[in-house]
């Protein structure tokens, strides 16, 4: 359980996190979604007591991180990949952390095995790829078998197999009753991994919702339609203010009208429908929500 209340952080004159309040509950994967520079990493650093909030507070399991008796046994965090001395081996790095929190030496080899780094345990971290660095970061997070896990952009640098592995791991950890908080700037990735979402932009909370609700509330829905009379329906849709794109497989995608509006329209002109599927574009929904809150935008 993570509880943020009125959390704010300023870097000079820049407000990085602005009056942020949210809860992250155990037993589900909560996605922390926001464009780059929206304050996700800063928020995660504040949860782990690395950055000090300008105002507000955040607690883990009802305590400030600073007051946790055995921090690594309560909270595991992957904040940056490869933030490790390059001359140290993966095993030595984990051993250092284990000793600081009275974690058994055998657990080090256990987590190395779990993330698939056993073969390179004695290799210096400086020679690791970004993906291996991420796996080592995840191993460090799991070291104390903690009930709360924070992963900041865990799939960065991972290959497709690795991405799927992280996704499965997050769900498995949540299934064990742990609190799993995963940040990403990729909506599609979040939709596959998370059950709940905390969406922020420019450091402000935009939405705290379930993934299903988030998708349903999106106004950028399109409808996939298959009909034996495409031209007739196409004209009717255009007249009703919709837009039609013909798809290569013979179906068409309608935007600007809801699925029920398209169905009613087809019935009114006597055209039969073989398929009528609402399709939500998650990326669009995310863009729409954070549109007002994007810090950096390329010229259009």
């Amino acid at each position: 359980m993570i509880e943020a209340r009125g959390l704010s952080k300023r870097f000079g004159s820049v407000v990085a996190v602005d009056d942020l309040s949210f809860d992250v509950r155990p037993g589900t994967v909560t996605g922390f979604l926001g464009p780059n520079g929206s304050g996700k990493s800063t928020t995660m650093r504040m949860i782990m007591g690395l950055d000090l909030p300008a105002s507000g507070s955040v607690t883990v399991l009802g305590r400030r991180y600073h007051d946790l008796p055995w921090p690594l046994r309560e909270v595991g965090g992957l904040l940056e990949a490869k933030a490790i001395h390059p001359g140290r081996s993966a095993r030595a790095h984990l051993l250092t952390l284990a000793r600081s929190n009275a974690i058994a030496r055998t657990r080090v080899d256990e987590v190395l095995e779990l993330v698939g780094l056993s073969a390179v345990a004695g290799k210096r971290v400086g020679k690791f790829s970004l993906g291996m660095g991420q796996r080592l970061g995840i191993a460090a997070a799991l070291l104390g078998d903690p009930g709360v896990l924070l992963f900041d952009e865990p799939v960065n640098g991972l290959d497709p197999e690795g991405i799927r592995w992280v996704r499965t791991l997050c769900k498995k950890l949540a299934g064990e009753g742990r609190t799993v908080f995963v940040s990403s700037h990729l909506m599609a990735e979040m939709a596959l991994t998370a059950d709940h979402l905390v969406v922020i932009g420019k450091g402000k909370l935009i939405s705290e919702t379930s993934v299903a609700d988030f998708v349903a509330r999106s106004s950028h829905q399109s409808v996939k339609v298959r009909t034996p009379a495409p031209h007739q329906l196409s004209d009717a849709v255009t007249n009703a203010g919709g837009t039609v794109i013909a798809d290569p497989d013979g179906s068409m995608t309608v935007t600007g009208l809801s699925a029920s509006e398209v169905g009613d329209l087809a019935a009114s002109i006597g055209v039969s429908l073989h398929e009528l599927t609402p399709v939500a574009s998650l990326e669009d929904a995310f863009m729409e929500l954070t549109d007002e809150a994007v810090e950096f935008r390329g010229g259009s």
């Binding site: 155990p26 650093r45 950055d51 008796p69 001395h85 140290r88 250092t96 952390l97 078998d145 009753g177």
Partner: protein, 301 residues
């Protein structure tokens, strides 16, 4: 048919009593120190360089040269050693910032003064052992070389020795007394050899404190070099009246007093006694480490 949705039970990890404290933090620092190759390399290089410089400093003495203080002569390599100990002390902290390991360290032990204390104690303990090995071997090698050369001591050295023994020696005879090499049994010699090692330890800790404040390796090393090498040069450039008042407070001059038995160079002016100087040096390191701790607690990691 009704689907039973089971509410996920909250995860319960293993509960153990107590809390992560200084002892655990020191164990972690110990592992950290010895799990990078550079630590051992640097320490071996230090011993080789300092003892080598001592052999050079004593080996080049000609048999007719007059040596004022054979103890100091053999320990002159300490001035090289202080730079290496400074770099080591800096790296204990700055390497954490340079590589980002500090985030992992502070996640494991969020009470930051505990982390700094663990670093001071572990590095300090290693430094004491290495620096004393260093100063005793430099002394042993240096004196062996000097006595093999039957080096000639100065009349001042002989006079000083006679004074310590409470013996009155006619001035014209002093010059014939050879005090060209020293042994640990002579007055002040053991103090000077032990002092040379302690001087290195305190400078290493001072460097650790500077790195805690500055956080960047290059910046912290520059500051350290400024304190031990540049300040004496500036002090010497000042008018004698000011220079005399300031010089004895400089770490390098305190060090020189600490590993001399007598006959200090004029540029130091009126110096503190070896142990008073040492106390001042410890105070410097404590103040710098105190400021370091204060900013460590207040700044974002």
């Amino acid at each position: 048919m009704t689907a039973v949705v089971e509410a996920p039970t909250s995860f319960e990890g293993e509960r153990i009593p107590g809390r992560a404290g200084l002892r655990r933090a020191m164990a972690a620092e110990w592992t950290k120190l010895w799990s990078v190759r550079s630590t051992m390399w640097t320490l071996v290089a230090t011993v080789v360089a300092v003892v080598g410089l001592c052999a050079l400093g004593t080996g080049t003495v000609s048999s007719s040269e007059i040596i004022d203080d054979p103890t100091r002569r053999s320990l002159i390599g300490i001035f090289l050693g202080q730079l290496i100990f400074g770099v080591l002390g800096v790296l204990v902290m700055s390497a954490e910032y340079g590589t980002g390991t500090i985030r992992a360290t502070l996640s494991a032990q969020p009470r930051r003064p505990v982390v700094l204390t663990a670093k001071v104690l572990v590095f300090g303990a290693v430094a004491v052992v290495v620096s004393e090995i260093l100063s005793f071997s430099a002394f042993a090698v240096g004196q062996a070389i000097l006595s093999a050369k039957h080096a000639v001591g100065s009349s001042a050295a002989a006079g000083h020795r006679a004074q310590q023994l409470g013996v009155k020696i006619p001035h014209n005879i002093q010059a014939f007394l050879s005090m060209g090499s020293a042994s640990l049994g002579q007055p002040d010699v053991l103090r000077a050899v032990v002092g040379a090692g302690l001087y290195l330890v305190v400078l290493g800790l001072l460097a650790l404190g500077l790195a805690t404040i500055i956080r960047h390796t290059a910046g912290a090393i520059s500051a350290f070099v400024g304190v031990v090498l540049v300040l004496p040069i500036i002090a010497q450039a000042l008018p004698t009246s000011i220079s005399n008042a300031v010089a004895r407070y400089l770490p390098a001059n305190i060090g020189l007093v600490m590993f001399s038995t007598h006959g200090l160079p004029d540029r130091i002016g009126p110096a503190f006694s070896p142990w008073a100087g040492f106390a001042i040096l410890v105070l410097y390191a404590a103040v710098i480490l105190g400021i370091g701790c204060w900013v460590l607690v207040r700044r974002d990691a």
